[in-house]
Amino acid sequence: MKRLWRWLIPLAALPVLALLAYGFRVNPRDIPSPLVGRAAPSFTLQTLDGAPLSLEAHRGKVVVVNFWASWCYPACYEEAPILERNWRAYRDRDVVVLGVDIQDTREAAEKFIRDFGLTFPNARDLKGTVSVDYGVYGVPETFFLDRQGRIRVKHVSAVTDEVFRATVDRLLSEPRTP
């Protein structure tokens, strides 16, 4: 009996250690989105140039929806040239990049677009409804949509060339109809 107790006390610490080991390995910022695999919420906004921007208009294409803000330094500043570069490289292959500026002022957003020479459409989400529909909790967040309009990948933090190319190439290689 005594011998059993001697073993039982250190053994009782094992579940706690296992929980800690699991807890410290998991990135608390990595929140799984329930939207991955589901149809992307449709939206209609107005670009900063005043043109209508709707997701529906791009159905059948691989769509990259990027949520950003001019105050989001440095991540949004890192990815802006990458998004522009890849948009230019892929735009003739049925790929579209849509920028959604959130919690920002018009002047700051316009300056950001000017400074980076962004040519893909960018719109402001004035009421935050699109952000909430996409379950956005910070910037930058990027959603990769397949040709059927489903959210396939949610990328949190700045998009890199590798992430953009690998994801978009994979979605492009899929057959047009499921």
């Binding site: 929140i31 799984p32 989105s33 329930p34 939207l35 959130i102 919690q103 009421k127 935050g128 409804t129 952000s131 909430v132 529909d133 996409y134 379950g135 956005v136 909790y137 910070g138």
Partner: protein, 156 residues
């Protein structure tokens, strides 16, 4: 007669015109209800703050969405479901009491109970368990015993 008819028709039309927009209009929602729903939602850009308590723009936009949906006739549970569908259960400040989450709710109680029980048993044992129990006699060599006695006596 005809005048009476006209009056009746006119009053019905007027009444209809007066009533229909009122019935079609969304019911007013108290700020208290909005606060109650928002208080259960996690502010997504904050740390450990609810949507009701956060001064951030995101939280204020989310409060507006809560107000809008409640005004449109949704129940607080509907509004909560709307956010859970988009953000997952992570958006709820208190995990719902079902499935695996029950562990979070009841494990602390079980642990406290087990702690109190263990302490009680140990305390009882220390105070009651050994009362009257004589120390077991130790085998000592009579010669050694004799030597100790002598040395204690001569030392004092």
């Amino acid at each position: 007669m005809s005048r009476g008819w006209i009056r009746l028709v006119a009053s019905v039309v007027l009444l209809g015109a007066a009533v229909s927009p009122v019935t079609a209009q969304p019911k007013p929602v108290s700020e208290e209800t909005v606060h109650e729903v928002a208080a259960q939602l996690r502010c997504v850009v904050c740390q450990n703050l609810s949507v009701a308590d956060s001064p951030s723009e995101m939280a204020s936009q989310m409060r507006a969405i809560v107000r809008e949906r409640l005004t449109a006739g949704e129940s607080p549970a509907d509004v909560q479901r709307f956010f859970v569908e988009r953000y997952g259960e992570w958006i709820l400040l208190a995990p719902p009491r079902r499935g695996f989450n029950l562990l979070v709710w009841f494990l602390p109680l079980v642990a406290v109970g087990a702690g109190i029980a263990t302490t009680a048993i140990l305390v009882w044992r220390w105070t009651h368990g050994r009362r009257g129990a004589r120390p077991t006699p130790v085998d000592v060599d009579p010669a050694m015993s004799e030597r100790i006695r002598r040395e204690v006596e001569s030392g004092s």
